[in-house]
Symmetry: C2
Subunit: 298 residues, 2 copies
Amino acid sequence: MIKRLCIIGVGLIGGSLARALKAAGAVREIVGCGRDPVRLQRAVDLGVIDRYTEALSEGVRGADVVVLATPVGTMEPIFRELAPHLVSGAILTDAGSTKGSVVEAARAVFGRLPAGFVPAHPIAGTEKSGVEASFPELFQGRRVILTPLAETDPAAVAQVRRMWTAAGAQVEEMEVEHHDRIFAATSHLPHLLAFGLVDSLARRDPEGEVFRYAAGGFRDFTRIASSDPQMWHDICLANRTAILQSLADYTRDLAELARAINDGNGDYLLETFSRAKSARDRFCSTLEDMSDPREERS
Amino acid sequence: MIKRLCIIGVGLIGGSLARALKAAGAVREIVGCGRDPVRLQRAVDLGVIDRYTEALSEGVRGADVVVLATPVGTMEPIFRELAPHLVSGAILTDAGSTKGSVVEAARAVFGRLPAGFVPAHPIAGTEKSGVEASFPELFQGRRVILTPLAETDPAAVAQVRRMWTAAGAQVEEMEVEHHDRIFAATSHLPHLLAFGLVDSLARRDPEGEVFRYAAGGFRDFTRIASSDPQMWHDICLANRTAILQSLADYTRDLAELARAINDGNGDYLLETFSRAKSARDRFCSTLEDMSDPREERS
């Protein structure tokens, strides 16, 4: 049981974690922290948090667990602000989509990483944002990756693991660099491609004619382009090396496909598309079963 | 009322059209044509068609409307085979995703385009294929684009329009080239990108580790990579000029995004992502409302 949980950033992720832990009876009190009192009050009104404060120093005071659920670009200034107020023995964890940059930010602020700092990434979310979009089942059956370091106290890891398990997630551990490479490929690159495609089409067609003829395939393909721009701006800069590597690999493969189309090399196209279909059908069948809890809610 | 409808290719599209027209009481008899008697018998057993024949000459004989619902690459040989047997005054239409190539195939076979030939493209489908995946509501509320030419008999256009309206679709007309440019951008390019991404990841990771950590965003983004490889092979070759142009525009814009990430140009990223989100939220809100009938069926 967490006695006092401080959530910094009560949006989709922070709000859903709060709801899930309350529903599971895994927390006594939740204090929300943020910069917008209107939204924080809304989170109180919705019963997501018990109270809020705009002062990090106050929010962190007396909290046994502090969760940062803000865009990854804000983590360094937040670490800097909360560092003097962190109770000795308190657990500090985050929900950022990149881990190298968060660890780097913590090192920059704390020097030696605090033993109670557990970098974490819940693999869940929707293209919606804000506390209104939060719901307690968001993490049900989803993975949460912890990337503890040599300095991390195993007891802190165990505590964070218990927290996410109580929220319904399956917890795994991974090395920081491995994490950032995997998510560059399966999450950051697709978001970049989707944002890029929609903007590319929209700029060439200000009336949006092409979108009028889009079908379900386009709707699904571009759904992630409705995600929060600030969050993805932060991620692209935070994980730039791995993303650029992933994009370079992909662009090279795409150029091969373009060459095959240009040359009328049907065999190449058919082989590529068949391999892709078979990989997706094989690897993503579990994803299809694991339908989006958001879809079930409507 | 169509007296005898011949559907060549009784798969997802042909089968769904048959089911929709039967449900609407808009057709007296449906004859299926194809190369696989097992699948055709299955279509009879499912009540999708009334009877079948493997001989095009027999299927086309006495049909007042003939619909080609096969991959676009097969249309020229099929035109060639059915040409001698087409009843004078019969209407010939197709359901191909590209229109320039189909018109070109018809010209190659018939010389002057038959007055009863109405090129058409129903903007509907799922990543599934085969008659088992067909269902009568597939075209409900979806658009069907007709691209009649100077040679086309307006009465034939009206008849095909009535057929698709009976199937629940909204029918529009468009010029062939305009059609091919629009669908290169909103359909063909996204399919190429999705197939390409899944194959690019799968080839670098034969164990499929990256897919294990994929979330709902990746599932949606890559859903179209589970589409029929042969069909998309045909489309890529059939609409190659427009697709290569669309891909070139996109690749150029993507290179700008890569440069911005590399240079840490956050403003450029934030502006691009914000424009994309706003375009998608604005233009695709109707798509979100128009939920996939397939999803409603499960």
